[in-house]
C-alpha cells in the first residue's frame, strides 16, 4: 500500500500562468469550452470561470486594490479537487462510481457513473460537474493513471514556480509548515494552511497556503459532511409520518360501536 499522496499549493508563489490548466487539459484530453470560441468573462484574467467537468484546474485571480489603485495586491490560486480524507462526494454516490484509490485520492469511475448529480450538490467546494462529452460527473483524478505509472500529476509537473507541489502528505505538510514559519518571520503574518489538519473533512489531501480568509478565495470556511443531517432529517421525517398517521387513524377509524352507543343514549 503506497503512502497517501496529494498536492500542497503555495498560493504566494503562483504567478497566474495557467500552465497547470493547460497541462491538465492536455493530459486528460479535456475538450475546449464552447467549441474553442473564446468568450471573455470580464472577471480579471479569469476566463475559465470555475471548476467543472472539463476544467479540473482553475486559476483564480483575486484583485485587492484601493479605489485609486495606488496600493493593492493580487491573490492567485490554482484551485482543484481537494481529495478529502472524508469525501462528501464519495459518501453520497449511489452507484459506487466514486472510489478511494490506493494513494488515498478520490476518483470518479466514468464507466460506472450514471449522472445522477448527487455528488455535485454534496461537494462543499463546487468541484464536480457533468462533462458534456461523457455525460458523467468528472473532476481531477490527481492523474491516477500517471501515478500508477510512477509519474507525478501533469499540473504539478508543469508548474514553473513550484506553487503546486506533489508528494506524500506527510512530506508536504512538513514543507508547508516550514514555509508558513518563513513567511511569518519575514512579516507576512497572515499566512496559514487551509485543510492541512484533520479538522477539515478529515484533512484535505490537496491543501493550501493562503494569506487571506478562505471565503476571499471562494473556499468555504467550514465545509461539512452531507450526512451531518441524516439522523436529524430521518428523525423529523419519522415524527412527520407519526403525526400524519395519528391524524389518519383518528379520522378514518371505524367508530361504529361508539357512535351507536352515543345514538342509544
Amino acid at each position: 500500500m503506497p503512502e497517501p499522496m496529494g498536492f500542497y499549493t503555495d498560493t504566494t508563489v503562483c504567478i497566474g500562468c495557467k500552465a497547470c490548466e493547460v497541462a491538465c487539459k492536455e493530459w486528460n484530453q479535456l475538450p475546449s469550452t464552447n467549441g474553442g470560441v473564446n468568450t471573455l468573462s470580464g472577471d480579471s484574467y479569469d476566463n475559465t470561470r470555475r471548476l467543472d467537468g472539463i476544467h479540473w484546474r482553475h486559476v483564480k485571480f483575486i484583485e485587492q486594490f484601493t479605489d485609486d489603485r495606488k496600493d493593492g495586491r493580487w491573490l492567485l490560486m490554482s484551485d482543484v479537487c481537494k481529495h478529502c480524507v472524508q469525501a462528501p462526494c464519495l459518501e453520497v454516490c449511489p452507484t459506487g462510481a466514486i472510489v478511494r484509490t490506493e494513494f488515498d485520492t478520490v476518483v470518479i469511475q466514468s464507466d460506472a457513473c450514471n449522472g445522477c448529480r448527487d455528488c455535485i450538490s454534496a461537494c462543499p467546494f463546487g468541484v464536480i460537474e457533468i462533462n458534456p462529452v461523457s455525460g458523467t460527473a468528472q473532476k481531477c483524478t490527481l492523474c491516477y493513471d500517471r501515478m500508477q505509472g510512477g509519474f507525478e500529476p501533469a499540473c504539478s509537473k508543469a508548474c514553473p514556480t513550484n506553487s503546486i507541489q506533489f508528494g506524500t502528505i506527510s512530506e508536504l505538510k512538513g514543507r508547508a509548515q516550514k514555509r508558513v514559519e518563513q513567511l511569518h518571520q519575514v512579516g507576512e503574518k497572515r499566512a496559514y494552511l487551509y485543510g492541512a489538519d484533520e479538522k477539515m473533512l478529515g484533512g484535505l489531501n490537496s491543501f493550501y497556503l493562503l494569506v487571506d480568509k478562505p471565503e476571499v478565495y471562494g473556499l468555504p470556511p467550514d465545509p461539512k459532511m452531507p450526512t451531518r443531517n441524516l439522523t436529524s432529517g430521518t428523525m423529523f421525517s419519522f415524527l412527520g409520518a407519526l403525526l400524519v398517521g395519528l391524524i389518519g387513524i383518528f379520522n378514518f377509524r371505524n367508530r361504529g360501536a361508539a357512535e351507536r352507543e352515543e345514538a342509544r343514549l
Partner: protein, 301 residues
Amino acid sequence: MNGIPSSTFFSAPPDWGWLIVLYFFFGGLAGGCYFLASLIDLVGRPEDRPLARLGYYIAFPCVIVSALLLILDLTRPLRFWHMLIESNTFQPMFKFWSPMSVGAWALLIFGIFAFICFLAALVEDNQLAWPAGRKFCPPGTLSKVIAMVGGLFGFYVAGYTGVLLAVTNRPIWSDTPLLGMLFIVSAASISAASMILFARRYRWTMPGLAALHRVDAWVIALEFVVLIAVMISLGPVFRAWFSAWGLLLFFGVIVIGMLIPLALYWRRQWLGDRNVITAAALVLIGGFILRLVIVFSAQGV
C-alpha cells in the same frame, strides 16, 4: 464576500430541474395516496373500501411516472440500474447512509407493493379476472400485512426526497433538517386532495370521504406549522428566500396552498358545492409550487 451565512454557499448546483420537481410531486402523490389508502384499509370502515381502492389506483401509475422521470433525469439514463447493481462487480449496490441509494431500492420495493394493491383493487372492481387476487383484498391477514409494510414504504418514498436534499451541501436544502418532514406532511395533504377530487367526480358519499376532508384540513394546518419551523431553522440562510422565490413561497404555497384551503374547509358555505373542490385543487397547486420553490431556489443562490 463578507457576511456569507453558511459554508454551503460554496457548493455548485446539481441542475436538478423540472423533471425532479415533477418527480417530487408524483412521488409524493404515490407514497401519500398509498399510505392514506392503507390507513383506510387498516382502521377504516368496510364501506370506505372504494376510497382505499382509489388511493391504490392513483398510487401505482404515479410510481411508474416517478421512475420514468428519475431515469430521464440521469445524464446517462441507460445506466439507471447502476443504482441497484454495482456495474463493475454485479454485486447489489446499497449504502444505507446515502438517501439516494436507499431511495432507489425503496422505490423499487414500494412499486411492487403498489402494483399488488393496484391489481387487487382491479380484481375487486371486476376489471380483472384473477381469482387469486382476492387474497390481497381486505379483510384477509395478507392484505393487512401488505397494507402495513407497503404503507411504511409509502411514507419513506414520500419523505426521503427531503432528507436527500438535506444530505448535500447546497444552501437551504442542507441548512435545515426539516425538509423530509415537510415533504411527508405535504405528500399527505396533496394525496388527500387528489383523492377528494376523484371522489367528487364519482359523486361518492361514504363516511370515509368526510374523514378525508378532516384529514386534509388537519394535515394542511400541520404543514403550515412545519413550513414555519423550516423557515426558523434556516436561521441566517433564510435571507436566501428574500427573492422572487420567497414571494412565490409566500403567495403560492402559504396563501393559495394553505390559508385559503384551510378557510374553505372551515367555512363550508362560502362557495357552496364548489367549496371542497376548490380547496382540494388549491392544495394540489400549493404542493406543486412548494416543491418548485424548494428545488429551484436552492440552485439559484
